[in-house]
Symmetry: C2
Subunit: 419 residues, 2 copies
């Protein structure tokens, strides 16, 4: 029997009517001949309520108890979804993590999968059950405690089940109807992609297109699980949504697939630091220890020789999420106080945005950067920082130009047209 | 190490402040040198919310899924209680039913305990944990599914743990400060009892003093678990509340311990039925099959010989909960239609109340009934039905006299004075 994994997020199961709507989609796949594993999140708002209670109770909480409390939301949805399917005469039952059992590491609140044994669920399929409704986001540790995978873990649960059960596809139902060339709220020319490569999706996800959790895409890429992102709230058929797949499956690819952006960036510059071997490690070591997620890094090699700074000096610029500025600043001040580094000034610019173009086609096409810079120059947008990877070029610009930049780049790479 | 079981009901853990208040009571017992097993209910309102969702989803729900959903409320409270205790530096952890594991029958939503193995929890006490916080009301079936014990099951969980772990006492924290000689809202002379025998508590509970679930008292009586009922919302010490215990522990007992009442009764009379062997079975068999909880039964032996009813005839009167009248009426009409019984009329009187005096002292004292009837007669209260057991005398009277009757009986047996 072919098998599908279908995952419904919090807004897709936010109330009983929505659970019913989701169940109808499951029923249709069963009628098409699939066995289905349904992965459910907690009803929207429930996890936040539980997290709030834990944090109010114990600011430095025991993560084992946090997991025991917070995982309960998914258990409720799993039971309600199984009941809804039963009402539709679809043989279904719910599974909590420990019943499968979904074996994870003991890293509470950030657990990783160790094994998903198929025996128990396969036995129920063999008995005639058509649907296994599994509580997402959770598992059980070697010590028999409940673990959670961290926020967004239900996507990862879905991909892990798809890999373990050799699912034909893993359908992620969410509140958007697919992956777009850019945010439709910013460019009216944004076009839904039929297919996108895992690598591209990873760059888009980490750049702010918050449809799929990064970790779930990584896992899907590793196990070659075909993902499909589609809407819970629309009528969908076999051609709906966007397929996220191996790049080999994408025959004809455009050079650039999408334009992403993020407002959540700040630019920090350490002014006048020594230009010596090891200086980068001396800066980014303390930042990493402080838990600062440094994204872009630029070192301006300076040949200047200031009178009051004998020897070569330089400036170091990096970007990080805005809310990590206090942590980053403290890490740098501590490092200076303890003599690890020295600098004249720490300049912070929060009025910036990051805009990126992403595409696996870049690997074989030159001139993408030139096209990008030309398009931005034509709009008189000044580039503050540039960073590149194999399939991505990102720039940091003044925040007020962000929308203009996205639109200009979408036009420049003709993303409104399909390949 | 001596061990206590402490149980907190839904209102006692209704919000984070109340959970903290309950945790303070646990901490105090730990400081006194006890290991403690805490049994918690769901936060008040939570179980009703979950039950509502299940019933809306599936009117004829799969009880296995019902249990999986509804049990989640207790898991949340258990985790929050463990966190609260940890914040007070009390080494504590939460236990869900399957982690103990609390083994029950497969009778979902009405499961009974099979075994509560001590090994896992004892091992944690041996490691230095002082408190095991156990989610009440739940267990796990031989098939590995979550079971629940039915409403009020957390009291029963508490008593079962007290029996399994040989607890010194099982403290039931609730929203009243003990068991009273009668309802203080009805008689200002009501007095809190220091001790009450299991048998008396059973009669009082089933008569409407809804402090302890009947099944938990039965279990406590069987395993001789000393229960204590006391308030979550007051400062309590070792002398607070009411002890429910074996009658041998009650040295000096009054003849009557309490006066109970119930407004939830209806009186039904089958008028002019045959007076023949088997007639009672012909009536109460169909009522039992229809799920009618018949309480009091009175047969008026009549020597009358009506012209139109050759042979001996009689009337049969019984009482049952008001909300079961439609079911009872249908059962009787069906029985008449199929020729099992015959009667002229089915008279229903819903304007009645039941008042009972309860006391283990009755066994060795004559004259209790006489005192009771005299006290009611002095107030001109007419008795409609009388029923007696070894330690209880109940009467059905006009509902409007209920409060007066309770007060008169409380006075007549001098319950305001301690033994």
């Amino acid at each position: 029997m072919p098998l599908l994994v279908m995952k419904f997020g919090g807004t897709s199961v936010g109330d009983l009517a929505r659970i019913k709507n989701a169940a109808l989609k499951v029923q249709r796949e069963v009628e098409r001949g699939y066995d289905v594993i349904v992965i459910v999140s907690a009803m929207s708002g429930k996890t936040n309520e539980l997290v709030g209670w834990v944090e109010q109770t114990s600011p430095m909480f025991d993560a084992r108890e946090y997991d025991a409390v917070v995982s309960s939301g998914e258990n409720v949805t799993a039971g309600l979804m199984a009941l809804t399917l039963q009402e539709m005469d679809v043989p279904a039952r719910s599974w909590q993590g420990w019943q499968v059992p979904i074996q994870t590491t003991s890293a509470h609140s950030a657990a990783r999968f160790v094994d998903i044994p198929r025996d128990n669920i396969d036995a129920k399929f063999a008995e005639g059950f058509k649907v296994a409704v599994v509580a997402g986001f959770q598992g059980v540790s070697p010590e028999g405690r409940i673990t959670t995978l961290g926020r967004g873990g239900s996507d990862t649960t879905a991909v892990a089940f798809a890999a373990a059960f050799g699912a034909e596809r893993c359908d992620i139902y969410t509140d958007v109807d697919g992956i777009y060339t850019t945010d439709p709220r910013i460019s009216s020319k944004a076009r839904k992609l039929d297919k996108i490569a895992f690598e591209e999706m990873l760059e888009l996800a980490s750049l702010g297109a918050k449809v799929l959790q990064t970790r779930s895409v990584e896992l899907a890429m590793r196990y070659k699980v075909r993902l499909r992102v589609l809407s819970s709230f629309e009528d969908t058929d076999e051609t709906s949504g966007t397929i996220v797949c191996d790049e080999e499956e994408i025959m004809e690819s455009k050079v650039v697939s999408g334009v992403a952006y993020s407002r959540d960036e700040a630019k920090m510059t350490l002014v006048t630091i020594e230009d010596r071997p090891g200086i980068a490690a001396a800066i980014f070591g303390p930042l990493a220890e402080a838990g600062v997620n440094v994204d872009m890094i630029v070192q301006n090699i300076s040949e200047r020789d200031y009178d009051d700074h004998p020897g070569a000096v330089t400036d170091m610029t990096f970007s990080c999420p805005v809310n990590q500025i206090p942590r980053a600043r403290k890490a740098m001040e501590d490092a200076r106080a303890s003599g690890i580094i020295n600098y004249d000034d720490l300049a912070v610019d929060t009025d910036v945005a990051k805009v990126s173009v992403v595409g696996i086609g870049m690997r074989s096409h030159a001139g993408v950067a030139a096209t990008m810079f030309k398009a931005l120059a034509a709009e008189n947008i000044n580039i503050k920082v540039i960073a590149t990877s194999e399939i991505k070029i990102s720039v940091l610009i003044d925040r007020k130009y962000m929308e203009l930049a996205v639109q200009a780049l979408h036009d420049a790479f003709e993303l409104e047209k399909s390949a």
